[in-house]
Structure formats: C-alpha cells, structure tokens
C-alpha cells in the first residue's frame, strides 16, 4: 500500500487528470443514457464534484474538499485558483470585441446592482434572524456577496470569528447554488446569449459559481460571464467595509 501512496502523492497532478477524466466519462455516459441528453454531462460532473467535496471534507475534516484526501491531493492544484484563472482566460480566445461592446453598459450596471442587491438581501436575512449589531449585519450581508467579500469585510470592521464563519458559509451556499441552479433556470431568465451572460456574471459575481454554472449551461457563454464576474469581488471588497458599512451603521 505504501507503494501506491508514494506514487499517487508524488504524481498528484497527473492522478487528478486521470480521476477527473474518469468522472467526466461517467458523467457524460449518465447524461446520455439516463437523461437522454436533457441534463448536460458537465452539470452532472460538477454535481459529482460537489458531492465528492462534501465527502472529502467530512472524512478529512479539512477545508479543501476532496483535495484534503491524501491520494487525491492533486485535485487541489488542478482545481485551484491558478489553473482556474488560466483556463478561464483561455476561453476568451476567439471572442469578438463587438459582442463585448454591445453589453458593456449593462455589464457594468449589473456588477454594481449585483453587489448591492446581494448585500441588502444578506443583511436583511441577518436582521430577520435577530442581529442588531451593525458589524455583524454588514459582515453577513458581505458574505452573501461572495465568500471572499465576507471575511475581508468582517476582518476590516472587526467582526467576531463566529460571524465571519457564518458569512463564509453564506457565500459558499450562494456559490454552490449558482453552480447547480444555473442550468436549471437558464431558459426562464433568458440566459442564452453573450449579453445576458455578461449581465448574469455581473449579478452573480461568484467566480466559481458563474464558471461552473455557465459551463453546465452552455460553454460558449463562459467567457462573457466570467469577464464581468471577476470585477465583482473587487467591487464588493471596496464597498463592503466602507460605504455599505457606513449605511448600515447609520441605520442601526
């Protein structure tokens, strides 16, 4: 058994390629046979990935899902920020400048609207659950923006660890729900063209959620959604501990 562990750990990224490849094959097989192509193979693969992440997190007690399982550590590198961003940028290859210009203004508005609306909703939920401290309300609202904005805001305005953890959890719920929910709701919200994809990316903002959600809906839309989504977290980190916190403080 030692031999297996040595080889798997030493070649962890290569193992990850093989494992993910196998998962993709199974997912496309299931999509084809069980759902007759109604559910996209990549949607099933992403759902399997999330299930595996839950299992990995429970078994190992770590925070990086299946990547904390010794033999599958390479998943952490393959699915980490560096590879994700590299592949996202590559999807922009062949995008036409005219498509970007068409949705330019709507895209910019959607980023602001997305941050502010998610914040208001998150803050309102915090108030409904009985929070009256502006620091906690702001941090939880910021968590509903993304799971990065939550802790950045919380630490900047001095929220308690428990509240920061809650804000991360709220952001994770959002991210996972966008991954799973996007392909299901895409038709009803008109998410089938570059313009609406840019608005979608700006409104949702969670890069992981948008990246996976659009991949499972229509891979052609990915570059448009990803482009606006990457500005969202930055704007959230800018507004959260400043303007939004001041407004909440004035109200409570």
């Amino acid at each position: 058994m030692d031999i297996i562990e040595t080889v798997f750990v030493r070649n962890n990224l290569v193992v990850a390629f093989a494992v993910v490849g196998a998962v993709m094959w199974v997912s496309y097989f299931l999509a084809d046979k069980l759902t007759a192509g109604r559910i996209h193979g990549s949607a099933i693969a992403i759902a399997l990935g999330l299930l595996a992440a839950y299992w990995g997190g429970t078994v190992s007690g770590g925070s990086r899902g299946v990547a904390d399982v010794t033999l599958l550590g390479g998943i952490g590198l393959m699915g980490g920020g560096m590879m994700r961003d590299f592949a996202i940028v590559a999807t922009a290859f062949g995008v036409h400048i005219s498509e970007l210009k068409k949705a330019g203004i709507a895209g910019v508005i959607s980023i602001f609207a997305g941050v502010i609306v998610s914040f208001i909703v998150g803050a309102a939920v915090a108030v409904m659950f009985g929070y009256t401290d502006p620091t906690a309300i702001t941090t939880i609202g910021a968590g509903a923006v993304t799971y990065i904005v939550g802790p950045v805001t919380g630490e900047a305005i001095g929220a308690s660890d428990a509240v920061i953890t809650l804000s991360v959890a709220a952001g994770l719920v959002k991210s996972i729900l966008v991954m799973i929910g996007t392909p299901l709701i895409a038709k009803r919200i008109g998410l089938d063209n570059p313009q609406s994809a840019m608005v979608f990316g700006g409104l949702m903002g969670t890069t992981s959620g948008v990246a996976a959600g659009l991949a499972a809906t229509d891979p052609k839309l990915v570059p448009y959604g990803a482009m606006t989504a990457t500005f969202y977290t930055g704007l959230g980190c800018l507004l959260g501990p400043s303007v939004l916190f001041f407004i909440v403080s004035a109200m409570f």
Binding site: F17, M24, S42, A45, I46, G49, L50, A53, Y54, G56, G57, T58, S63, R64, G65, V66, A67, I75, G79, G80, M83, F86, A87, V89, A90, A92, F93, G94, I97, K102, A103, I109, S110, A113, V117, S118, V121, G122, V125, A126, F129, G143, A156, A169, V173, K174, I176, G181, I189, G190, Q195, S196, V199, F200, L203, A211, T230, T233, G234, C237
Partner: protein
Amino acid sequence: MIVYGVALLSVCLVLGMLIGEALGVAMNVEANVGGVGIAMLFLVYASNSDKFKALTEGVSASGIKFWSAMYIPIVVAMAARQNVAAATEGGLLALSAGVAAVMVSFALVPVLSNIGKDDSPAPDTSEEQGAG
C-alpha cells in the same frame, strides 16, 4: 510552435493579474480587482489583431485552445475542492442568506439584460422584493 500560444496566454494572465493587484492597492482593497477580466481583454485584443497573428494562428492557436477545452474538467476539479461541508454546517441563517441572494439575483438577469436594447422602457425595480 504550440508553446507560443501557451506563452501568449500566460503573459495575458500575468499582466492582467498585475494590473488587478495594482488596482486593488490603489483602491486600498484587499483583493485583485478584475485581473482575470483584464487578462481576457488582452487575449481578445490579441486574437482580433493582426500584430499577434504569429501567436494566435495555426499551431500556436492550439496551445490556447487546449487550455480553453480543459476549462470544464478544471471546473469539475474546482467543484471537488470546495468547502461544501462548511456550507452545510452554516445553519439556517447561512442557507437563507445564500439562497435569497441567488434567487433575487436570478430574477434580475432578464431585467438588466434589457438595458441597452432599444425596444424596452427603463424597467422598474419594484417587483424584486420578497423573493426567496
């Protein structure tokens, strides 16, 4: 050569990240502001411009297309390393906040998608309350 395409892609990402990081510092924000988006704009510009033809056509292009095609498997790996366990342990508050934020944002997609199209009057935002 394939690596020319890969190198172009890498340079775009590094430049975008540097600018995004610098924007973060300039705005006094602890985050990379749009680095990936800026990198994508560089690549869009390069692939639409004649100056970079040697790097974006023929074999060089396949160096970029490979990574574009690896996108979905990488996203699957990304899903597999999310902290799903923590999301489920956040309790009802985290669940409600996350779900409500997504519902309201979904509902706004068709509203904002109409901006810039001539045929629709400026939409009212009064229907967005109470979702989730």
